[in-house]
């Protein structure tokens, strides 16, 4: 059922997206990379047969929480005001 090549590819992308979201300096980029990370996790859940969890991850993790992050980033400034 599991195709190990696909599994390996998605796992690598999960790691790359996670490290990328931490390393990138641009907050909007970090939010988008975190959305990509969530989507990869969703694919992993789907591969492992946990379809309900994959659905939740796709709607909450990749969908709404990315919008929440972007809404928060929208109110930040390049230089701190303090």
């Amino acid at each position: 059922m599991m195709i190990w090549q696909l599994d390996l590819l998605i796992l690598m992308l999960v790691v790359i997206c996670g490290i990328g979201a931490l390393m990138i300096r641009d907050l909007l980029g970090a939010a988008i990379l975190f959305g990509a990370y969530s989507f990869m996790m969703c694919l992993l859940w789907a591969i492992m047969g946990a379809v309900d969890v994959a659905f939740t991850e796709a709607s909450v993790g990749a969908g709404v929480s990315t919008v929440f992050f972007i809404a928060a980033v929208y109110h930040t400034t390049r230089r701190t005001k303090d």
């Binding site: 492992m48 309900d52 994959a54 709404v64």
Partner: protein, 279 residues
Amino acid sequence: MKILGLIIVVLVGAVLEYATIDFPPLGDPASPASTHVSPRYIEKSIEETAVPNVVTSVLADYRGFDTMFETTVIFSAGVACFLLLRVPPSRRPQRASERQYRHRLTGLTFRIKGGAEVSLPLHEFERVDSIWTPYDFIIEKVCRYLIPFIQLFGLYVIAHGHHSPGGGFQGGVILGASIILLSVSHNLRIALKRMGERTSALFSPVGVFIYAGTGALCLILGYNFLDYQALAALLPGGPIMARSHGIFIVEVGVGMAVMGTMVWIFKNLASLGRYDEGL
């Protein structure tokens, strides 16, 4: 300090990695997770609840308490965002009462300061945000035609959770996301017109109330809390179908709570609690 942190992270990662060696492989029939309680759910869930999707019957029936408090957690998240971010209208800074109107035909923008009331012919003027970019024709139209279908799909996910993946939580998020999409593709005020602050703030406690109320109703009818068999006295189809219907009622409650909370959090977050302009 950074190097110390890196060393700790790597060490903890190595320990976790070492700990996973003891784990049974994925899908092992002899693992503890799939020997004690799982076979009972898989074998008996259709007989006992008439729900083909075992995940839904476990979430909303066998483990109904967990899901009820998960819904409460979501509601608390919405209340926390509200209490942290919401600015009462009397304490909003003066800058926020500055409004900008754009003349549709000429593209000129007027700025009205200090909350003064001006009577403008509203079919010629439109209110715009302080950082305003012209609406993209394609984005506006595509979103406008897509949103009804997204909402229909959200309702389908809630109602069809008995038979397919999905349920109240996912459907509620999809319904909330459709309102958020309206706000992102047009502006916050149009979304507020469709679903106001009060509506979204009411939806979340009402959803939790439906869930807890169903449990309490079972208690009143002489059964245990959240034992949906009790609803057989009120719904047609006998005690087994009553459990299926009970799951559906509870899922609707979860969907309402999640939808309301998602829209509520987004509005508070996007407008910094001022509800005038935002993402």
